[in-house]
């Protein structure tokens, strides 16, 4: 839709008022073609959005819904579990996202080398986890991480390490969760970074070589700066992903033990569907919208700045 309107503005923008342009725009067949999409957008996006906003301003107790204004939002600040779930998401952000992006850059760089044989096969291999369904891979991880007779404990047992209580210990549960997410998403990010790598012109490498840069210098002074927009993009999507984490920790630990792996969306689910507090759950959802919006805004600013 955006592109059509741009074209229209160029053609008739000067001598017609905006309203006339709109009228003329609707006479075009193209506008009618976009109607189904617009209807879908209103029904499945705008309406639920408005409803959840409405809900977050109400409280339902015993079947009676009352207007409470911003009370649900005030609760967010007094609720220790909101803080805890955000802290958990923050911990995943600080530890897991750099780890995963670093891995993805390394792998992408390696799998972009001309000397490497079977590059296509390796790329496919690394990318494969990204096509597994969230629920299926989380269940498999839970089985492998079982304290008794789980594959992981059997493996480390071979080298004489005592079995680890992966999912029942607060810190190990976090480690397990981070390992699972990293396995699932590294390949996905690697493919995006690979695309970024391949868009770096060969002249730059040549220029670097002529200037006498070694391998490492070429990587840090040429490749990484060129990858900047791609890295920002992958970091931001991973950040939003971490904030919206649900499936993995729900299946691995249900947010336990002792809320060690409780994330905002999992908390939202518990509040809404377990405690039937849809008003408060909607407020949590809008808090997440706010946080995500801030992150996206920062991303745009970073993208605009030239290094």
């Amino acid at each position: 839709m955006a592109s059509t309107s741009l074209v229209l503005r160029e053609r008739g923008g000067a001598e017609t008022t905006r309203r006339r342009a709109l009228g003329r725009r609707l006479q075009r067949p193209g506008a009618w073609f976009s109607l189904p999409a617009a209807v879908l957008l209103v029904v499945f996006f705008a309406y639920p959005l408005a409803t959840s906003l409405w809900q977050s301003l109400h409280a339902t107790a015993g079947g009676v819904t009352t207007w409470v204004g911003l009370e649900q939002y005030a609760r967010l600040f007094e609720d220790p579990l909101v803080g805890k779930s955000l802290a958990n998401a923050g911990m995943i952000l600080v530890v897991q996202v750099p780890l995963m992006i670093g891995l993805a850059v390394g792998l992408a760089y390696l799998l972009n080398q001309a000397w490497l044989r079977f590059r296509g096969g390796f790329r496919l291999l690394v990318f494969l986890p990204a096509v597994t369904t969230l629920v299926a891979y989380a269940v498999v991880f839970r089985v492998m991480l079982a304290t008794d007779g789980g594959a992981i404990n059997q493996l480390i047992g071979l080298v004489g390490i005592a079995p680890v209580d992966w999912l029942n210990n607060e810190w190990w549960a976090r480690v397990a969760l981070i390992a699972a997410i990293t396995w699932r998403w590294t390949g996905y990010n690697m493919v995006i970074i690979l695309a970024g790598l391949q868009s770096i012109p060969a002249e730059l490498y040549e220029a670097a070589r002529i200037d006498g840069a070694g391998r490492w210098q070429t990587f840090t002074r040429v490749v990484l700066p060129q990858l900047r927009p791609v890295l920002i993009f992958t970091t931001v999507t991973s950040t939003i992903g971490a904030l919206q984490l649900f499936d993995e920790n729900w299946i691995l630990t249900e947010g336990g033990p002792n809320d060690a792996t409780l994330t905002p969306v999992l908390y939202l689910y518990k509040v809404g569907f377990r405690q039937f507090d849809f008003g408060y759950a909607s407020a949590i959802a809008w808090l997440l919208v706010g946080i995500t919006a801030v992150i996206a805004f920062v991303q745009f600013r970073l993208m605009r700045e030239k290094p």
Binding site: P48, A50, T253, G256, V265, L268, F276, L288
Partner: protein, 434 residues
């Protein structure tokens, strides 16, 4: 009827975009007519063996009542409650009959007071015939029944007779939990096996031990009883077991089943439906198991509790509530039909007259010929009743964390329970009971 819960992520993420509707579609309350002649058709939602049982009885019902048609849909356990919550919230989309488990029923009854039909006109005459705990848990604050009790979660103590024998422990001598701990230490010394396997992260049987003492998370006034002496005693018991190396901590439903199959621990304090799990998942252990009453907290104290079980309800949006009520009465308030569900699908009746059936006195091969159902039948009427509130789900989560803190991290039970009580008070605005 417990199952591992995976969730349709779509349902949760739908909430992110606020898929649940505001308002509850308040319509005129549905009045059941006990004298109505059932006609037409209804749809029933259930899952697993429960759906199997209802399908079987639906066919019989249709044959006996020409002009009726009953469709039983197995909606699957994993998203049954998401569908139910959204349907009640939206005021549409639900069938004529839904299945609700006992631990979930009070929350739905309190949260959606107009969402479920008052079943009293048809079922009041049967009140004395049902498990009294189920009846109260399935009724609203005014005593109106909204979910008909179906199967009971009467708790007993399953024990590995072979381990007991190896350690020279007589199961009949276990009067109290202290006796059991003592026996557990002997069994561990003799056989190397732990006493019991628990999923501590989800609260590991704490609420079962609380109900055994006639206590819930709240009292009749709705005040918080999480820090009561009974609660401290229950948590201290779990902590003591762990300190003496008698607990095996497992993860989730499948962890518990695997642990039983592997023969890790000597006892399993669990509801009668655990029999179905053993038969289905560990048939090779036939002959190694016995059942006795749960040990009491004091000599002469209550020797059972409740864990799980379920019932059937009619949403207010049902199109044919009279036929729905007639079918529920046919299936659940009938000794023969309830007994048939025990024999065929392993669902233990909440309907007490059904327990007179000869099936319950029959010896069970799996348990070395012991007539185990007799014991559960005797104990069903003894299950202490407890009070549920709208905040049970939230309180359960907070209490589960207290259990983890005390049992796994070694914190003091009285302190963590007091903290939990205060946390519940802050979250719900309720008072802490004196």
């Amino acid at each position: 009827m417990k199952r591992l819960t995976l969730l349709a992520p779509a349902a949760a993420l739908a909430l992110l975009s606020g898929c649940a509707m505001g308002g509850t579609g308040a319509a005129a309350p549905v009045e059941l007519d006990p004298d109505a002649t059932p006609t037409g058709e209804i749809t029933v939602w259930s899952w697993d063996v429960a759906a199997t049982a209802l399908s079987r009885l639906a066919d019989e019902f249709e044959a006996e009542h020409p002009g009726t048609s009953i469709e039983v849909v197995d909606v699957g356990y994993d998203n049954a409650y998401d569908k139910l919550s959204v349907g009640l919230q939206a005021g549409s989309g639900l069938p004529d009959v839904v299945t609700i488990e006992t631990d979930r029923a009070p929350g739905y009854i309190a949260e959606f007071p107009t969402g479920l039909v008052d079943l009293t006109p048809v079922f009041a005459e049967h009140e004395a015939e049902f498990d009294p705990f189920k009846w109260s848990a399935h009724s609203d604050a005014d005593g109106a029944l909204e979910v008909v009790p179906w199967d009971s979660g009467t708790v007993g103590l399953f024990y590995r007779a072979d381990y007991f024998e190896a350690a020279g422990v007589d199961p009949a001598s276990l009067e109290t939990w202290d006796d059991l701990i003592e026996a557990g230490e002997r069994i561990k010394a003799e056989t190397g096996h732990t006493l019991l396997s628990l999923d501590v992260a989800t609260g590991g049987g704490f609420q079962m031990l609380l109900q055994q003492q006639g206590q819930g998370l709240f009292d009749e006034r709705g005040d918080i009883t999480v820090a009561s002496p009974e609660a401290v005693e229950a948590l201290t018991l779990l902590k003591t077991m762990n300190e003496r190396g008698l607990l095996k901590n497992v993860k989730g439903w499948d962890g518990r089943v695997t642990s039983a199959k592997n023969g890790d621990s000597a006892v399993t304090p669990e509801a009668v439906w655990w029999i179905g799990t053993l038969l289905g998942d560990a048939p090779e252990l036939a002959g190694t198991y016995g059942v006795t009453e749960l040990p009491a907290f004091e000599e002469g104290g209550v020797r059972t509790s409740n864990s799980g079980g379920s019932g059937l309800a009619i949403p207010a949006q049902a199109e044919n509530p009279d036929l729905a009520a007639a079918f529920i009465e046919y299936a659940l308030a009938d000794a023969d039909h309830q007994a048939s569900m025990m024999a065929e699908e392993g669902l233990f009746p909440s309907y007490l007259p059904a327990l007179e059936d000869e099936y319950f006195s029959a010896s069970q091969e799996y348990f070395g010929g012991q007539p185990v159902y007799e014991l559960f039948a005797e104990q069903t009427a003894q299950i202490p009743s407890i009070t549920f509130t709208t905040d049970n789900a939230e309180a359960s989560d907070i209490v589960a964390n207290a259990v983890v803190a005390a049992v796994l991290n070694g914190a003091d039970p009285a302190t963590v329970l007091q903290d939990a009580a205060e946390q519940i008070a802050t979250a719900t605005g309720r008072e802490i009971a004196e």
